[in-house]
Amino acid sequence: MLRLESLTKRYRTGDLALSEISLAIPAGQVVGLIGPSGAGKSTLIRCVNRLVEPTSGRIWLDDLELTRLGRRGLRHARRRMGMIFQEYALVERLTVMENLLSGRLGYVSFWSSLIRRFPPADIENAFRLLDRVGLMEHADKRADALSGGQRQRVGIARALAQEPEILLVDEPTASLDPKTSRQIMRLLREVCAERGLAAIVNIHDVLLAREFMMRIVGLRAGAIVYDGGPDGLTPAVLTEIYGEEDWAASSDLSDTGPSPRPGVPDTDELVGAL
């Protein structure tokens, strides 16, 4: 169970990225975080593992208050949160296996990681994960020799190697073609189900979000404007999140949307109502 309480982030430049976000994500739930660029999606998931320091507010992972941890405690807590990145963020010049084993860095001593001597159980598990994401024969290749979809699979396996309780996923399909994007999303859902993992997935593609997420949180200008099931993403709600657009024309949303004519003019009022 991950809980955010009045989480606020103001950057040094003065930009308010997140304001008073409160959110609870129970174990096993896969939550899609949607919203326009600059809405604070990336900042939100980076605040959870404190790659970005929140300005105020509190975050709990089960009974552990992440926002109060010192350096050492934070490193230990980060092991419990696997992160998957936009454009993979693999260490390009290391082998696939080294990238996978880097998920174990929080568990092994500096010296054994320096000479690349990981415990046999870690290596066995890494191979199992590599097999799970279908890249068994690529273990010794360098990460920059893989295709985009393959790299993101390594990214997922690296996060899983941490044996996390929750996945923080930042735009996993941002640089992938539509088919590969769907494969990656499916893989994410599957591994979450297999391991009972919760996940927060930043995603810009509404169709993918509707198809693969259990719950959607819509973010606009640093505030939550929608929180509910994927079926609730009506054109009206999308307008509220992203601004006015002819949603019906770009998707099959008109099937489920109650209003065939999107574009509620009075958005501000609706935000206030939520």
Binding site: T95, M97, E98, R116, F118, P120, A121, I123, E124, N125, A126, F127, R128, D131, R132, A139, D140, E194
Partner: protein, 269 residues
């Protein structure tokens, strides 16, 4: 998950950079042998070293209390010589490297000219400044004129090569456009090439000015004038405080020229 159904390896080593094991070990052994032999060849005279330690401390002390006064006349003369050499050599070097650079650009120079200019550049680049200085001192005698000739010669190799590469890289379409208006060779050079190459030429000249000053501090050691000769004399006399003063001045001037030329380059480009 089907755990236990498949067995996975429990050991993994990063594939080595050199895959052939025997070659790899041969290289390791070779490096080791070289280090042992190489370091072994360095004769360290410990008695001399402990004596040197004391001198080193005195020299460091010189940095704390540099003596600009006692040898100021020599230092001033040396610095003026160095700066004068630097400026004149850079100006003359640049003026000569422009035709040489144009001649060494494959896309505009006829073949015999190209070969001659390239040969001159190669000669200038492969001869060290200090070696050139020795030859010029032998020809024109001790003094800054030898230094001037050395630096100007070195400037040609440096600048003409970069200039030639720049001309070879310029946008052929722009040159085509000028040529299409019916312009002659000189006009093409003036409008099509000069406009594209000039900012870089100014930047490179200023960069070379930096380098020439640094070099001017060195070639004095073989008698080609400048502050290097003054430094050499100060060290010969064990006047570490004067030597420290000279070094500090060199560092400061290098920093100032580097800063100024960086600033001007930023403005020009």
């Amino acid at each position: 998950m089907s755990e236990g159904a498949t067995r996975y390896p429990r050991h993994w080593r990063r594939p080595p950079l050199i895959s052939d094991g025997r070659l790899r070990w041969a290289i390791y052994a070779g490096v080791l042998v070289y280090l042992v032999v190489g370091i072994g060849a360095v004769e360290v005279n410990w008695g001399r070293l402990s004596e040197g330690w004391e001198r080193g401390l005195r020299f460091l002390g010189g940095f704390v209390e540099p003596d600009f006064i006692s040898r100021w006349d020599d230092i001033r003369a040396g610095l003026i010589e160095s700066l004068a050499m630097t400026l004149t050599a850079t100006v003359v070097g640049v003026l000569i490297s422009i035709p040489v650079g144009i001649g060494a650009a494959r896309n505009i120079a006829p073949s015999p000219v190209y070969l001659a200019c390239r040969a001159l550049i190669a000669l200038s680049r492969s001869l060290q400044e200090i070696i050139v200085a020795i030859l010029f001192v032998a020809m024109v005698g001790f003094g800054p004129l030898a230094g001037f000739l050395t630096l100007a010669f070195a400037t040609i190799g440096f600048l003409a090569k970069l200039l030639a590469e720049d001309i070879e890289d310029i946008d052929a379409a722009q040159v085509e456009a000028i040529r299409a208006t019916g312009a002659g060779w000189w006009q093409v050079l003036d409008y099509g090439i000069r406009s594209q190459v000039t900012p870089r030429l100014i930047g490179l000249s200023l960069y070379r000015l930096d380098i020439n000053f640094r070099e001017s501090a060195v070639i004095g050691i073989v008698g080609a004038g400048g502050v290097g000769a003054t430094l050499n004399t100060a060290l010969d006399r064990y006047e570490y405080d004067s030597a420290a003063a000279i070094l500090i001045l060199i560092i400061v001037i290098v920093l100032v020229t580097e800063y100024v030329s960086g600033w001007v380059r930023g403005r020009v480009q």
